[in-house]
């Protein structure tokens, strides 16, 4: 399969003062794939996400996004975060950033913001179109919550949710923006093994729904079970890439990241 990748990164570099957090990184993601990004702490994985989503402007390099089924690509470099999201990229955060004073449902409804239109007049007049739109937002949000297993908590405040549920809510909120590429930053952190298994199932489901996924994770069991391909980073550089089985036995990866005798 040599279809054009939906995401194509070349030479991406990010400097913070003296620190080079990303060093000429190349990477691509194809439609329908689950790709994992692993590497030691401080390797630059989160920084990479931040560059993709417009939170940082990379020092150098190019980020090209090609919506599936299209041949025209757009550059994400220098776009504001909200425009990146509009283009079809959504993310979760390593340190959970939910709207804690809002309900679970409202969190997801916020995700619908960039795909809906009603504005001041719509809000005040509450005309038929607006009402229809609101209806759709609610229904769709409920459907997404149902998928991640939080529909019964829809009217809870987000801050009152257990940690694992908050992680899933982050995913739900990102899904609501209808991304074709979903970026997950350590979704299993702080989850117990049981919850991690549920997460495994959830991510597979999302993938079969047609979303491509780029995943940062330190839980090797999850990474090995989910990913089609794995990229390994260290000190801002790519040190390896390949199928899970290849990575598992790659000596460089073992040395820098996994350590001997992986129990995954």
């Amino acid at each position: 399969m040599m279809a054009t990748p939906i995401l194509q990164i070349s030479g991406l570099t990010m400097d913070f003062g003296g620190i080079r957090a990303l060093n000429r990184l190349d990477l691509e993601v194809h439609a329908g794939e689950i790709v994992a990004l692993i590497g030691p702490n401080g390797a630059g994985k989160t920084t990479f996400f931040n560059c993709l989503t417009g939170i940082y402007t990379p020092t150098a390099g190019e980020i090209l996004l090609t919506p599936p089924g299209s041949t025209k690509n757009v550059s994400l470099k220098g776009l504001k975060p909200n425009h990146v999201t509009e283009k079809g990229l959504a993310r979760t955060f390593q340190n959970i950033r939910l709207f804690s004073q809002m309900t679970v449902l409202e969190n997801v409804m916020i995700g619908r913001h960039c795909r809906t239109k009603a504005f001041i007049l719509g809000a005040i007049l509450r005309n038929a179109a607006t009402r229809r739109e609101e209806r759709q937002i609610v229904e769709m949000s409920y459907a997404i919550l149902d998928k991640v297993g939080l529909a019964h908590l829809a009217n809870e405040f987000a801050r009152n949710l257990p940690y694992g549920a908050q992680r899933r809510l982050e995913i739900a909120r990102a899904l609501a923006t209808e991304p074709f590429l979903l970026l997950l930053d350590e979704p299993a952190a702080g989850m117990n093994p049981q919850e991690t298994q549920e997460l495994d199932r959830l991510i597979k489901e999302i993938s079969t729904d047609g979303h491509s996924i780029l995943l940062i994770e330190h839980d090797m069991k999850l990474v090995m079970s989910l990913s089609d391909r794995i990229f390994v980073m260290d000190y801002g550089k790519k040190i390896a890439q390949g199928k899970p089985s290849e990575i598992r036995s790659n000596p460089a990866v073992i040395k820098a990241y996994l350590g001997e005798d992986v129990d995954a």
């Binding site: 989160t46 931040n50 939170i55 390593q94 340190n95 950033r97």
Partner: protein, 300 residues
Amino acid sequence: MDYFIELFCSGLTRGAIYALIALGYTMVYGIIGLINFAHGEIYMIGAFTAFIVATVLSIYGFPLLAIVILAGFAAVIWSSAYGYTVEKIAYRPLRHAPRLSPLISAIGMSIFLQNYVLLAQTSNFLPFPELIPEFAFMEPIAHIVGSTDIVILITTAVIMLILTIVIKGTKVGKAMRATSQDRTMAMLVGINVNRIISATFIIGSALAAVGGLLIASHIGQINFYIGFLAGIKAFTAAVLGGIGSIPGAVLGGLVLGLTESFATGYVSSDYEDVFAFSLLVLILIFKPSGLLGKAETKKV
């Protein structure tokens, strides 16, 4: 050129005055993130205490040096006591409240203290005794800089240096910064957060008292309302310099003072405040966290 130097010196004095009050503002803001609108009133109370003590002593015939020292001492003691008490009554119960609640409490405190002094003393202006004599050796340049100006400038510089060293270098200073950044964690490393906050208020209020004494003796008069405008200006200076930063407060004060002075001198004093605030807006647009404030670290 002479005119320029004259305006420059005027601006410096004015700026140093703002800086003196801004230091306390910025410290309190730095530690609990509160725009302490009552800080101007603490300054006013310091000035009043100094006024009362100095006048009483001079009536009883004390020598000038003794008056200055005792009045300064009393001003510092009582201002600190007020600062401490205000924090305890009006802000401490609001530690876990929404962010803006202490702000309103501070505004209430400010109104209360103004009227308290109005009722306990008088609404009239009172003459503040001249505590800093005109030094004879200054006479040749007295038409440009006076003795009080010099004393104010030196005091501000010294206080800034000491404070910077304290905050950057000492344990207490580090504890202050730690408390301001993460109160829970500060407790977890063994910092008595309440004590550190009280200490901050006490230091800030003591500075306000020193400011009150010097400024009042520079202007020569006080009443219960002098804290309001001084407070607003000091707040502006603190923000201009980067709120929470000690050298920033001084720099902010000076920039503000100089701007007003030059605006008066070369344009019109009608619009000096307009210039001051426009400069503030302009600087914040290009440096959103003030001149010496740390840029926000945006790590997600």
